[in-house]
Amino acid sequence: MDLVPRILGGDRRAVARLMTLVESGAPEAKKALAELHPHTGKAHIVGITGPPGTGKSTLVDKLALEFLKRNKTVGIVAVDPSSPFTGGAFLGDRIRMSTVAMDKRVFIRSMGTRKKLGGLARGTNDFIRILDAYGKDIILVETVGAGQSEVDIVRTAHTTIIVEAPGMGDDIQAVKAGILEIGDIFVVNKADRDGVERTMRELQTMLELNPDKEGWQPPVMETVARDGVGIEEVVDKAQEHMAYLKESGMLEQGLKQRAELELLAIVREEISRHVLEKGVEREELDALLDRIMQLELDPYSAAEEVLGRLRDR
């Protein structure tokens, strides 16, 4: 029954089961994650993000295949949006991952965002930790495809790959989306299509305007993931980027930032859960909402009241 030794021993069913417990918020999941923690820190985490329809899943499939050729084991976490209305989700990334799905060195898990914004789900970091402890060398994380504000991935991945495709929108969209600051590697996929030169040029021009001329300069690369074209070069670059992070000391710096963000996020979540569970009863909340709707009270003052009550208790 104890999942931790089974995971460390390479049992994929235990991996899958712990992931379910994490998503369900089961108390035993926290304990297992704590026990797995010392066994993490070895994997290279690569994030893949970009607008819908640029071919992220196909690219992930082919990148995984190339990493396997280089004798690396691969874990894949594929995030798709949950419906904000029903909480249900249609997770279809596996459709495009059939090349590597049956390889024993690969473990693929799909997840719904479950009300979380930012392109990842709440449990994504824990899934990565589980796959890391399970012994995967490379963990590919495919985010929700939305292209605007899906920036959580940079706080999770060592290497972030931004996927674009010809004709997906102009350079202004790229600036708005803030992707120019977060990409370590830019890939223009579907490069057999019209307009590829223009997309390449626009990305390169926008990147040249980035103020930071020192350190890692993100390359812009062409791929046709469907046919496996350009994949080796992208994997080369990803490995180069990891080597750069190690040499420059950025890896350690990044790890500290990541640890801080994660710790504070957990603290914030626990505080708000505590406040909402202990600080305000349903009837009190309804009474406050009534007053807000009657325009007797504004939301900021109402929030003060809730917090004030918690302090008094």
Partner: protein, 134 residues
């Protein structure tokens, strides 16, 4: 909160996935997480995906007539992987006597053409209620 996770898969060679997609959509709209793996899946691929995704239910859709070979193969592979706790259901053009045989082999339910999606949603929800899980 534990969510019901369902794998919808099409084993075999037929390319008709309208029914599978309609069911997948209905389950999603009922708040379930549906992992859709697409066409032309081998029983091995289906079972491996079901294990990695830790699903509660597998829904197989098949219209090619090969249900008497492919469905039992899925059941066998689940047993081999010690994963027979995953509920297996199916849909498609499946004669009544075959459906009975398949249930005898371990499938929980078989739905024919024209089954209202509500019926499928309700069936799965009832089976997945705490206490009802085997």
């Amino acid at each position: 909160m534990r969510k019901i996770r369902v794998l919808i898969a099409k084993p075999g060679l037929d390319g008709h996935d309208r029914g599978a997609k309609i069911v997948a959509r209905a389950l999603r709209d009922a708040g379930m997480e549906v992992i859709y793996t697409g066409l032309h899946q081998t029983p091995e691929m289906i079972v491996e995906a079901a294990i990695q995704e830790d699903v509660d239910v597998i829904g197989l859709s098949l219209l090619s007539g090969a249900h008497m070979t492919l469905f039992p193969r899925v059941l066998d592979l689940l047993r081999e992987n010690d994963a027979q706790d995953i509920m297996v259901t199916g849909g498609g053009i499946i004669p009544e006597k075959d459906a009975e045989k398949l249930k005898g082999l371990g499938m929980t339910q078989i739905w024919g053409p024209g089954t209202p999606t509500d019926e499928i949603v309700t069936f799965i929800k009832e089976k997945m209620e705490p206490g009802a899980r085997s």
